[in-house]
């Protein structure tokens, strides 16, 4: 990479977020990383620095506007601007539960956390991207963000929300040079999947296997792609869209 590109990844301390941080570091991106817990995040920071990446990391609750402003401002101050935002942070809530049994408070909390954080972080990052007329925002969705499956509860509903948010924003950003797309990473071997499917008896992809589509959407190869939904594992297997 000639220019030093800057990618911001939320929820970067584990699972897919951590895999994305490492793969973007390998590609030469400078990184802005955040998570709620600083210890696990510090471990990721160490690993990406060993790969030679420059990183700014902060503990932040991305459902809080004040934390979002602090985190993004520190990244902008350190690197000048942001090229790529990956809204990865999310929470699952309780494990498999019928909607009729779903606790009301947890329902509200999951919807709040998963729909407000991509809204708040995107809203905060957009001014810088719009001023440059350039930028790529990638929201992480799920198979259950477009298909209703029993017992996936508020998580699934929140991902339907994320898909709606992506579609609306893509329409509003048309012709600005800034694009927003979403990726369904598919089922992966993560802590979140253990909660969603506790006794999983089938093989799962590793988060490292699904990063290619994110790198593609972050890069200038995908210039002009806006409002699209990608399935990461199909993308990786076929590889056709990379050629």
């Amino acid at each position: 990479m000639e220019k030093q590109y800057v990618a911001v990844i939320t929820g970067a301390s584990k699972g897919l977020g951590k895999a994305l941080a490492l793969s973007f570091a390998k590609e030469g991106y400078s990184l802005g990383l955040c998570a709620r817990g600083i210890e696990e995040l510090d471990e990721v920071v160490k690993q990406v620095e060993e790969l030679g990446a420059t990183v700014v990391a902060s503990s932040a609750d991305v459902t809080q506007p004040k934390d979002v402003d602090r985190f993004i401002s520190v990244v902008e101050d350190a690197f000048g601007s942001i090229d790529v935002l990956i809204n990865n942070a999310s929470t699952f809530g309780p494990g498999p539960t019928l909607l009729s049994d779903y606790p009301i408070e947890q329902f509200e909390e999951v919807i709040r956390v998963n729909t407000s954080n991509p809204f708040l972080v995107t809203k905060r990052v957009l001014p810088g991207m719009l001023a440059k007329g350039k930028g790529s925002i990638i929201n992480v969705t799920s198979e259950v963000g477009k298909t209703g499956l029993a017992e996936w509860g508020a998580y699934s509903i929140s991902k339907f929300g994320v898909e709606g948010l992506t579609a609306i924003w893509a329409d509003e950003l048309a012709d600005t040079g800034v694009r927003i797309n979403m990726v369904d990473p598919g089922e992966m071997n993560t802590g979140m999947h253990d909660i969603a499917v506790p006794d999983c008896d089938y093989a799962l992809a590793s988060p490292d296997d699904v990063v290619d589509v994110f790198l593609y959407l972050a890069s200038e190869q995908s210039m002009g792609v806006n409002g699209e939904r990608y399935e990461a594992q199909a993308f990786t297997r076929e590889g056709s869209e990379l050629s």
Partner: protein
């Protein structure tokens, strides 16, 4: 004697204490007084009608510096010290105003989490000092965001959060006070202007403190501010001028930045640095043809700059008219657009 300073008084009822969006309105639901050179009377409009006064090809230049929360609480022994950051000098150093009943220059100021600030010199003008912090860079900025508060002057009676002190397009953190002339713009209104063919360009000027308390005001000659005019913005401005279109500065900070880098013929050059430029009626503004601004205190240097756009007499008349019509003053208040005559007329 500065006649402006004694020419009007703002009644308490006209200090905008509450942002429009907390009064059940939209950001752009404020009023707009338009003064055009060559026209005797001011016109009174809604701010979201600003598109009526702009044409395709005109360029609106905004300051997209973003407000940081610069007010920090510290102590020296049992004495409380309020630190108001004004300008970043280096990764560890800030120029700042210190407020407290008894401040010792040779004793470090203690802040929470073990952060320390040492008075390491004088500032660019009294009463500012240079502070050296025990942390720097991203760590210090992260701390400022965690513990800092926005500057709220005496007419503000509610602790409005930092986001109320931002323009929607603020993207480069560094101002200690909001460049407030653009506060009323919404993305919706900016889209409407773009659809009309008005171009939006940005500069950065990190605004310092505008008031030092106890009736002390900055002297712009001694009030350096960091600015940057990007290549793309310089090009847009120069093209508009070649095509006989107007360039409108959104805020006095934009005028200060552009006039700091304009050639004699009015051509704007991309550059960045520190400016101490003072603009008043003796300065011939060549970079812009108009100014969108708020309503200013009689003592503020912003108001002196307005005299570079309009004779003092006409300005005082317009301000009195604004007072009579109940326009709201300060950062959450109404707006004033001052335009030169249309070119080619």
């Amino acid at each position: 004697m500065n006649t402006l300073a004694t020419s009007f008084h703002i009644p308490d009822s006209l200090h905008a204490e509450v942002p429009p969006e907390h009064r059940g309105l939209r950001r752009d639901d404020v009023r707009l007084m338009v003064l055009q050179k060559g026209e005797k009377n001011a016109s009174h409009n809604r701010f979201d009608e600003i598109d009526k006064f702009l044409e395709a090809g005109d360029v609106l230049v905004v300051n997209n510096s973003r407000t940081i929360p610069p007010v920090l609480k510290g102590s020296q022994g049992k004495q409380n010290v309020e630190i108001r950051l004004s300008r970043k000098i280096s990764t560890h150093q800030w120029e700042a105003l210190l407020l407290g009943t008894f401040i010792q220059t040779n004793v470090p100021i203690q802040l929470s989490e073990g952060l320390e600030a040492t008075i390491s010199g004088l500032g660019s003008e009294p009463p500012l000092v240079t502070l050296s912090f025990s942390e720097g860079g991203s760590t210090l900025l992260d701390y400022i965001y965690r513990y800092g508060e926005p500057v709220r002057y005496e007419y503000i009676h509610h602790p409005w959060p930092l986001e109320t002190y931002q323009t929607v397009y603020g993207a480069i953190p560094g101002s200690v006070e909001m460049p407030s002339a653009g506060r009323a713009f919404t993305w919706g209104l900016l889209s409407k202007l773009k659809a009309k063919g008005v171009r939006i360009a940005s500069i950065q000027l990190h605004a310092g403190l505008s008031y030092y308390e106890k009736n002390r005001w900055p002297n712009p000659n001694n009030h350096p501010e960091a600015f940057a005019v990007p290549e793309e913005t310089a090009k847009l401005i120069n093209t508009a001028k070649q095509n006989g279109k107007r360039v409108i500065a959104v805020g006095t900070t934009v005028v200060r930045a552009l006039e700091s880098t304009v050639h004699e013929q009015g051509e704007v050059k991309a550059s960045s640095g520190i400016t101490k430029l003072y603009i008043d009626q003796h300065h011939r503004v060549t970079s812009v043809d108009g100014l969108l601004t708020g309503f200013h205190e009689p003592e503020a240097s912003h108001l002196h700059m307005l005299r570079a756009f309009m004779p003092e007499k006409k300005l005082i008349k317009a301000y009195k008219e604004a007072l009579n019509k109940g326009y709201l003053w300060h950062e959450f208040g109404d707006m004033n657009l001052i335009l030169s005559e249309r070119k080619g007329k």
